[in-house]
Each structure stands twice: as C-alpha cells, then as structure tokens.
Amino acid sequence: MVYRIANRKAPAALVATALGVGSLVLAPLAYLLLRALQAEPAQLGSILFRAQNLELFLNTLWLVAGVVVFTTLLALPLAWLTTRSNLRGKRLFTLLFALPVVVPGYVGAYALLASTGPGGLLEALTQVAWPRPSGYWGSLFALTLFTYPYLFLNLRTAFLGLDPSLEESARSLGVGGLEAFGKVVLPQLRPALYAGWLLVGLHALGDFGVVSLMRYPTFSYAVYLQYSASFDRIYAAWLALMLLSFTVGLLYLESRFLRGLSLSRVARGASRKQALIPLGAWRPWAYLFAAVVVMLSLVGPVLSILFWTRQFPFDSSFALLEGLYNSARASLPAALLATLLALPVAYLGVRYPGPFSRMVERTAYLGFATPPLAFALALIFFSLRGVPALYQTLALLVLAYALHFLAEAIGPVRAALYQTPPKLEEAARSLGSGALEAFLRASFPLIRRGVLASVALVFLSCLKELPLTFLLSPVGYNTLATRVWGYTSEAMFAEAAPFALLIVLLSGLFMGMLLAQDKS
C-alpha cells in the first residue's frame, strides 16, 4: 500500500534542510559556470572556436550514439528471449545477462586489453597474439559489453508488464509476427527504451576509464588531459561545461520523447500469463547468441583477470591491502553521508509531494547525471575558492562521492518511506513526541532496511568510482580503482589483476546482498 498526504505544507526546518542539500549539489556547478565566464571575450573566442572542440564533440556524439545502438542490439533480443520465448533456463540467463553491471567500465577495458596482445590470455589459448582493441571501436566494445545490462533490465521489466491481449487483438485483426511486434509491442516498450537509453547514454558520456585506457579523445578525456597535463583551468572549465550541456541535452531529449507518452502501466498481475513463443529452428541460434554475450561480457573478463592474477608479484600484496583500505576509508563515510542527506529529500518527496519537492529531487538527479569529471572539476574550483583547506583532503573526496551518488541513496529510502503510513508519526506526536523524534521513533525503525540498502548501494558505487577519485583524492592516495587504471595505462596487467579481481568480487558480493534483501 502506498500512503501519501497531499496539499499540506511541509515544516520549515525540513524545507530548509532539503534546500540546503539541493544547493550543496548545485553550488559547485554554478561556480563552474561562473569560473568559465571569467574568460576575457577575446580569450573566450579562441576557447570556443577551436577545431579541437568540434572533433571532441563529434567523437563524443559518435561514441554515445554507437553505445546506444549496440546496447540495444544486445539488450532487446536478450530481454525478449528471457521473457517471451520458450528458451530454457530463463532465470539463469537473466542473472548472467544482468551480472556484467558488477564490472566497472575500466575493469572491462582492462580485461579486453589484458586478454589480447602479446602475453594475453588469447595468445596463451590460441598461440596467436590477438590485436589490441583501441580508439573508437575499443571504447565502443567495452562500453557496450558492460553497460547493456541497464537497458536489458529496463526492457525485461517492460516485456513482463505488457498486456498480452493487445498483441492478441493485433493478431485477430490480421497483423502477426514481426509486424505485430513492430506495431504493437515496440511502441509499448518506448518508455523503457528511452529510460534505458538515457542510462546507457549518460554512462558513455560520463565515462573516463574506458576512453582514457583506449585512448579515444572525448570531452571527458580532454577535461582530464587539460586538468592533469597543461592545467589550463579556464579551458578545462569550458570543456566541462560543454560536457555538462551535452548531458542537459540528453536529459532534455528524454523528457521531450517521454512527453505525451502514456506511462500508465497495465494493471499488474494480468489475469492470463503471456503465451511463450516457440523458438523452433531458431533455438540453437538463440543459445549461441546468449552464450557469446555471456562469454564476452562475463566469462572472458573473469578468466583474463584470473589468468593475470596468477602472475601477480606477491611481494606487492601490501599495495593491495592499502588499496582496499583506502577504498573503504573513503567509500564508507561517503555512503553514510549520502544516505543521511537523502533522508530529508526522500521524506519531503514522499510526505509532501509537490513542485518544490520534485525540484529538490531533480537537483539530486542532476548531480548524478553530471559527468563525474565535470563534477570533480567543479568541486575543485569551488573548494579552492571557498575552503582552500579542503582541497586535496579525504573530506572533499567523501563529499564529492556523497553528492554525486545522492540520487542512488534516495531510491531505496523513498521506496521504504512509501510503505510507512504517516499516521504512525501522527500517533507519536499525539503521544508527545516532536516532529523529529516522531520520525526517529515511529518511522525510522520501519525504513531501516531501505536505509541499509541505500548505504550498501552508494558504498558499492564509490568503491567502483574512478574519475572522482582520480581528481579529488589526496596526493598518493591510491584506491582499488586508481590502481587498476594506473597499472593498466602502463600495460602492467599482472600488477593490475588482483585489484580488478577484488573490485569484481566485492561488487558481486554487494549486489548479491542487495538482491537477497529485495527478495526477503
């Protein structure tokens, strides 16, 4: 059951807190804009109209478009196979197709680079050195293989929610097979497709690990180069802004496409189950397709990591412990902080829905959608100007993680709050508890699971996060993620392997925990 109170004014303290959280996310971005506008008009012209910008723009555009197309080519058939066809082992396949989300892009790129080339896993197996992927196709390959699960999961849910009678009525009207799919099914999948494309597109846009390892110049990579190599701050700020406007454009496109689309779901628990479509002679091909995807996105990378881990010089085990410790030391406080900040935002959205609460929530999502490099740069400028003592401290890294992943923390907390009747807090208040005490004593115990899920989710994301860590961590502060990237960029695959293995194992563990909690 879902509980809501409409048309009620939120307490001023709550509004102020939520507003504070929202401005924490917005302030660095606003400062980024301010900073970029400091350029002299003449200088501005030379910054804006560089041929390099157009190249970066086109490169970024091609990458995003390519990733959207190729993830769809993987996710759409796979989602159909695991929901509508009579493929056997659907549950196992669903799990296998969803699992690559635990492999961060840069680990995926590592696996691709480490399994090819001289000394790679493929050479060990085939006695031939395979060419190393790089540039556009390398980036596209890595991003497609490790982001398609987002689209797959969205489409799967949509397929399961379809009303079978619509397709049946199309058939009764003489429209069958592929034509019915195109005319009836596909239009109903549109909201899920757009949402999935947005997720995948934002990933490709914000990605730094893959494009830097594959040496493919996009906005993200250029921001990094400007910042780390030549340190032209104003140009870096402008590049970050261009990246940001790309993001805003993507968000706008999505909302534009979604407008006018009825998002109302078909009544849940439809009376009849959808009839499964027999694969017939296609069955072997379906299994082959599924097997290739699983091989490339899961088995191959894991084997490659294990292959190299065997060659790891174990006298550097200390670095492994240090990386793990550093990752946890930044991620845990960030996860707790993000959840703490998410509580007032989620509470406002659930108990006092309205334009204001929606705006605060959207701000949090904007922080999440902002490419991490742009966000990191904004925070660097902001801290250097506002609180210079914060620059190059762990505190700033924790804050960056928390603000960037705030949106992830809001989800589970909000879902749990929807299940908690507001009457309990009213009962507490009629028994003498103040507003905050009523929340803590009456509602908080009931949303504890949601809060834990938020903490786990953000912890996992921080653990995997590369670009924010890269730009904001104190000098010499190495985490699992920065070690994987650092060693890989120098082709030290054996040194990188155990770090990559640890990331994948920890991600898998947390993912399993979250899924198990969902079920119980």
């Binding site: 004014k9 507490a428 208040r429 003498g432 115990p445 009931l446």
Partner: protein
C-alpha cells in the same frame, strides 16, 4: 479518583473553525463551533465526506485551521504542535507501531519516565483494558478488537483529559463492535476522560455519546442529547440521517397541523406552511380502505411496512404481530405528535435541504 459532582466545566471549545484544502474548493470545515464539558462523551455524526475527520485532525493539531480557534480547558491551542496539546488520538486503523511490542506501544507516550516506571505505567493501563497477558506480543499478533484496545490504552496512558476517536469501531465486526463500545465508554467514564468520537454509524453515535452533533458539509446542523436530536430533529437532513422518517408537508395552526394524513398534533407551536417529520414508530395501522400495503419488512423485534396513501408512500413501524400483508387495504393512524423540521412551502424546504 474524586470527581467534582456535576461541575460543568468546559473541557473543549471549538470556535468558528474553518479549513479548506484548495483555494477554489468549498471549505471542508466551515465556521464550525461546539463545546464539550469535562468527562463528557461527544459524538460527531455525519455522512462520509462531511468534514468530520478533518475537524478531529484540526483539534488534534495535525492540520492548521484557516480561521477559528480551539480551546482546551480555556487555553487557546493556536499553532501549538500536536505533541504539546496533551490530546489523545485513536486512529481508525489504530496506527499501532508495528516494530514495538504491545507494552512498548502503550509506554510510547510515557517518555519522561525512567524505564522501570514506564513499563509499570504501561502495564497498569494495559490491565484496564484486560490485555496484560499480551504485553510482549507484536500488534500483528492481536485480533482487531485487541488492537483497538491497545490503541485506546496507548492514547490514555499519558493521562490526557481529552481523547479523540476517529471511527474507532468501524473496522470491527458487528458482534465485537457493541461489546468494545461498551468497554471503551466504561473506561472513559471511570477515568473521567472527555472524548470526541467521529462516526457515520447513527446507532453507534446514539448509544455511545452523552451528546451528539450531526454534521453536514462542514457544519454542525444540530447538537443535543441522543434523545433530543432523535425526537426533535431541527432539519430534514437530521431527521433523515438519524433513523428513518416520513417527511410530510402541512399547514400549521398553533399546536395543530393540517396534513394529507389529517389534522395532527404538533410538538411545538407553529404557523403557516411547514415540513414535518413523522417517525415510522409514530404511525400505526388499522383495517380500512384508503391505503394499501406495498411492502413488508420483518425484522424480528419489529416490522416495517411501506404503505401507499393518496399517491405518496409512508413508512410505518408496527409490532411483529401486525396482521396485514402486501396488498391489504388499511388505514393510517398517527399516534405521535409531528415535529417541525422546516418552514415555508414544501418546494422551498426541499431546496434548502438539498443545498
């Protein structure tokens, strides 16, 4: 506990309370006033959507009024938050804390006490509702009636002078409802706690309350003891909402009134065109020719008949031994005096009663 005998001190006073949720929608509570005295049990009766729950929430402080004031023991509540009002509240579906045991629920409001005394206090109140054996259970392990008693125990544990009850018996099945009602009333009375109960069940209001108010569209149409309001409804709405009645137009001439049923006695003096309420139990049947029985509804302890007379239908309540059946010709005999529920021509009165 000693109580001052018959000291009619005002416990709760509501003055000109108004509340609207949307600027362009009609007020949910409209300039409403009433008061109750100490340890009085007051019922607000009205159809769903008449604003009675909103009124209760305004008194509790969960909602802010647009205008008007609530006084508890003479103290204006103003913008005081609910936790500062010392008013107990029993919710329709009880709103027991699912993560706390029964005794912890009851002890929730005893927060200023050291833990041992909290438990002691909670158990004392639980004893009053006869649930000490269930003290360590969780709410979902109790039956509906038991949950309802825990909710009441929780509300009265901090010792409020006033308890608000929002349709507290509506989720109990019929058999349990009467017994629980009697227990709750006895408990409130024994502790001298005043109560405002909100309900749409007229039988509940009549049997539970010392006094009741009939609400309609955000206003109270009439207040009084159950006997007064039932026997002397002031408006057609009250007459129809509290039990069944026959609304009859007539021409009043002092203590008498000319109606299609003949010249009847009036309960109070009136002149000119009036609308009258005649309760079914005030009309009897005799053998005759002028009226015909249309329907017969046997209910065991009594019998309700629908009778057609001069092109109109009347409800008549007779003893179960009444010998007439559908199709029989009879004569209507009015035994009670008619009550004036509206003045003016029937058309105007009708329009008023719809407004």
């Amino acid at each position: 506990m000693t109580r001052e005998p018959l000291a009619e001190k005002t416990l709760l006073e509501v003055q000109g309370l108004s509340k609207r949720y949307l600027a362009d929608a009609p007020a949910v509570v409209n300039n409403l006033s009433f008061s109750i005295s100490e340890s009085e049990v007051f019922a607000l009766l009205g159809p769903s959507g008449c604003g009675k729950t909103t009124l209760l929430r305004l008194i509790a402080g969960f909602e802010r009024p647009d205008a008007g004031e609530v006084y508890v023991q003479g103290v204006p509540m103003g913008r005081l938050p609910p936790e500062k009002r010392s008013i107990g509240f029993v919710f329709q579906d009880y709103a027991l804390f699912p993560h706390l045991s029964v005794w912890q629920n009851v002890a929730f409001g005893l927060r200023r006490l050291p833990s041992r005394e909290r438990r002691q206090g909670a158990l004392e109140v639980l004893n009053l509702v006869g649930l000490t054996v269930f003290q360590d259970r969780k709410p979902h392990q109790l039956s509906g009636g038991q949950q309802q008693r825990v909710a009441l125990a929780r509300a009265i544990a901090p010792g409020p002078k006033l308890v608000l009850l929002d349709e507290p018996f509506s989720s109990l099945d019929a058999g349990l409802r009467q017994a629980t009602r009697d227990e709750v009333r006895a408990l409130l009375k024994s502790r001298g706690i005043g109560a405002v109960l909100v309900t749409h069940d007229q039988e509940e209001a009549l049997s539970f309350a010392d006094r009741l108010g009939v609400m309609r569209a955000g206003s109270i149409e009439q207040t009084g003891t159950p006997e007064e309001v039932y026997g002397n409804p002031k408006t057609p709405f009250v007459a129809q909402f509290l039990g069944r009645t026959n609304l009859v137009a007539g021409e009043a001439k002092g203590r008498q009134v000319e109606t299609p049923l003949g010249c009847l006695a009036l309960s109070q003096e009136a002149y000119g065109p009036v609308l009258l309420s005649l309760r079914p139990e005030g009309i009897g049947l005799e053998a005759g020719t002028e009226a015909e029985i249309l329907a017969r509804e046997f209910k065991g302890h009594d019998l309700t008949l629908r009778v057609s007379f001069l092109g109109r239908e009347y409800l008549v309540q007779e003893s179960p031994t009444c010998p007439f059946y559908v199709g029989d010709r009879v004569r209507l005999v009015v035994r009670a005096s008619a009550v004036v529920v509206g003045r003016g021509t029937p058309e105007r009165v009708k329009a008023d009663s719809r407004a």
